[in-house]
Symmetry: C2
Subunit: 370 residues, 2 copies
């Protein structure tokens, strides 16, 4: 049975999707390696060491790209977060707390919950910027000795705020608590150096930000934690317990590899993407659609607030679905059905010409209904 | 960058791969839904409830197909096993043991190890049949009260032995210990009814036996364990803890869906596959390549032993790689490089004409080197 994807030719501003459009090479490997377990044709027992297709070489290149000691493939950022929390909690059973920023993705919370850990939240500044107060990390870290791990969302998936990760890492180092960065929206979009930031762990998402099919991600970590993260089975030689022996054993990993050249190039153009996002934000504000989160903004993922659109929704027939329907009519995809007052979008890799069409659409919709 | 798969047009007898060749529809959905997170176009918060593409309907059809109460998508059989062990261990912390058959896949052991559980092994009969003595389950279950879970590999991935799962389930019911079936090599190949067997849990593998790209699998369970397996987050409404909110969020799931009509049809022809496997086994034995495991055999996955081929390997230049190289020359893929004395293969969905080519290859190789 075949299923058609209705939005495939739309202008796509869905924050989940702008960073994961496949390259042509990725599309080609999909067909070449689509059959289940085909990437295991020449496996000798460990995913990261397969040399045909060249997964091993790719893993080595990733170390340079991310400036870190070790990397493992996962089925996504959340699975990597759980590996870190679960393995650390087994190693340090007395440390029961994970410090998490208020802008954390829900899967960070679920990872902690699944690992049986308690959560300490670092609040954000609230409306309108929702900035995480990184100085609060210092306070929490100094106040207690039962903290297992600090997680920082870099940036978060709601406002696209990029907190000062280096500052948090300084506090963590001082108190000897490891730091995990959730880079689902940064690695693959912008340059990230684990050594430069001083993070012990980072997770990345292939299907969010690395031009890949899902589910695939990365878990990067420092040599210091290799024994914990990459712990070997007592029973099955060479198999790593936290990865159940093998993780992302399928074609999404090949799309990640096939798109890697493109990804390496695109992160170099990050400043241009930020510039474009800021321009878009300014244009939206001219229509009284206010951008929340950090300003000036440092990421393509942006959160907007619109009283105008909300007002319209309260009096039109289609109610709160009017915006979604109007955008759909114009072949624009990515703002969730039912949202009008608050919504997020991403301008990442969306051509300026297409963004102009989006801006015109908002203008038209507002003037039609006003 | 593009990577070519060298063996794509070969006759494939790799046990990992014979059940996961994509259907034409699955290939088409790969391109249609390859972009990361595209299956989430219309997600309202839960993977199993997405109606466009029709994941929800598919999940319902799976309940009927597998004759069970509940199903969740996973990234593979092992991830499903870990979900069961981990969630049960949190619910019943005093029960520390998992009973596992001696033919269990290594990932069953790793799942237990990762969940912090201890293992009790039910031995097999040893050479040449390696049959799991299912009566032993009774003995173990009656002898102790700290057993959390019983796992039965149905069939195992080494010998392709199909143990009497119904018998094991009777013992489990009597002692009120839940039973998990590892159906990575059965669901999608042969008819499996959870209700009929009386299993509480079963895991399936899309990329092993359901004509899918990896990584994707199924976890099926009875209503009785829904509260444990599908436990909701205390913090994030509607999100299931053990699945970190969402599991197989990518195109492999769509290939599973696209191939499902084909899979439903092929399981009806299982008897023919068993017949073909038995014929192949007999033909191999004529060359003094002995089939180990159950005889007559009940599955397409078979383990062979050959003194003849081993003898050759001890005196030829290419050593133990000679068999692999000779088969490769004949465009036959699936027997691991370096194996001669013991190797496994699968005849599943391999046309009889191709199997004849394989048999001729063995004959030729033996006569050339003898």
């Amino acid at each position: 049975m075949f299923f058609e994807r209705s939005v495939k030719d739309y202008i796509n501003i869905d924050p989940l999707q702008t960073g994961s459009k496949l390259t042509d090479d990725a599309k080609k490997v999909l067909l070449e390696w689509g059959d289940g377990y085909s990437i295991c044709d020449y496996c000798t027992g460990k995913l990261e060491e397969i040399s045909k297709p060249p997964i091993k070489r790719f893993a080595e290149e990733l170390l340079e790209f991310l400036d870190c000691d070790c990397v493992r493939f996962t089925t996504g950022a959340r699975e990597g977060k759980f590996v870190v929390m679960h393995s650390l909690s087994r190693e340090y059973p007395d440390k029961k707390y994970v410090v998490v920023d208020a802008n954390a993705h829900y899967s960070t919370i679920l990872s902690a919950e699944r690992a049986g850990l308690k959560i300490l939240k670092v609040e954000n500044s609230g409306y309108p910027e929702y900035k995480v107060n990184v100085e609060k990390y210092k306070e929490i870290l100094e106040s207690r000795s039962d903290i297992l791990l600090v997680v920082l969302t870099y940036p978060d998936g709601n406002y696209g705020n990029l907190p000062d990760a280096k500052r948090v890492s300084e506090f963590c180092k001082r108190e000897e608590v490891p730091l995990l960065l959730n880079c689902a929206y940064s690695i693959g979009r912008m340059p990230v150096s684990l050594r430069d930031i001083g993070a012990d762990f980072a997770v990345a998402s292939g299907h969010k930000s690395m031009a890949s099919s899902g589910p695939v991600g990365l878990l990067c970590f420092s040599d210091e934690y290799k024994k914990v993260i990459a712990k070997q089975s007592k029973y099955k030689k060479g198999k790593e317990v936290e990865f159940l022996g093998c993780s992302a054993r399928g074609v999404p990993l090949l799309t990640l590899m096939a798109s890697f050249d493109h990804v390496k190039e695109r992160v170099k153009k990050w400043e241009k993407e930020v510039e474009k996002a800021r321009w878009f934000s300014e244009e939206m504000e001219k229509m009284e659609i206010r951008q929340l989160g950090e300003k000036p903004h440092n990421h393509d993922l942006m959160f907007f607030e619109s009283e105008v659109l909300y007002d319209i929704s309260t009096r039109v027939k289609k109610g709160r679905y009017f915006l979604y329907k109007e955008l759909k009519k114009r072949r624009i995809h990515g703002i969730k059905p039912g949202l009008t007052k608050n919504f997020k979008l991403s301008t990442y890799l969306v051509p300026k010409e297409d963004l102009k069409i989006v801006l015109e659409a908002f203008e038209e919709i507002i003037s039609t209904y006003s």
